[in-house]
Symmetry: C2
């Protein structure tokens, strides 16, 4: 299997679960916070979507073009679909040798990493915040929740 | 780098963060639940520790010996230290060829997987629940929290 296919599949095994959780968040819960010091549901979801897109853009040595206007009214389900599609396209564009390229993330993370490690880090970041999101969605009253990974 | 060393380092990059969060949970919060339908903090931490240990034991074709008495009084910080040490020992015992062995998890997960995939799945499971745990610890009033991964 091509490495880019492996990473696309691995990403989607988690992102499709994220998107399933996002679909459960009604407009009335966009500002929901499970604790006083937490990000709101909307802030958390936007952070997940944009961070992953920025990580894989960096791995592909691309400048991420903004996919949405931060000040516009947002539909989180539609935004999740858009960022997922664009992130998949970038992963699919990566050739085997691109994954070995050393990427300079000094400005954002204070280190340089091979592209492949950035993609792994981006997926770990997704899983971590999806773990947050499960508690948020449960706090909104939902109990019929998916497995943490799609088989 | 040996694959077992890679997996030990990858596991610890997340588990040491888990353990740092666990240290913040006082006895008075062992029964804390962020939502009515959530596991308690104690249940969540015990689930994380024992699941990872059972996953890597299965990957190593070992029967996991119980490391603690479920009915005894538990100190979560000590339990986390014990399970982390024993899980590391099992990962370190894995030779390159052991990681390619197909492990039958039909009884628990309904599928068969190479040992290496089980270890990856176990780490994803750890990250997911650590993501839950961040919300728990924030709900207990803590705001000085670590990064989701240790560099």
């Amino acid at each position: 299997m091509k490495k880019s296919t492996h990473y696309k599949d691995y990403f989607l095994a988690h992102r499709l679960v994220t998107n399933e959780l996002v679909e459960k968040i009604g407009n009335n819960h966009y500002n929901y916070k499970p604790t006083d010091t937490s990000m709101s549901a909307k802030e958390l979801v936007v952070h997940m979507l944009t961070s992953f897109y920025q990580f894989v853009s960096a791995a592909a040595k691309r400048t991420p073009t903004p996919l949405h206007d931060e000040n516009a009214d947002i539909n989180l389900t539609e935004l999740a679909k858009l960022y997922t599609e664009e992130s998949v396209k970038i992963i699919e564009s990566l050739a085997e040798e691109d994954l070995d390229e050393i990427i300079d993330l000094t400005a954002v993370l204070g280190l340089k990493l091979p592209a492949e490690k950035i993609i792994n880090l981006a997926i770990d970041h997704e899983i971590n915040h999806k773990g947050n999101l499960f508690v948020y969605v449960r706090g909104m009253g939902h109990t019929d929740l998916p497995m943490f990974i799609r088989k």
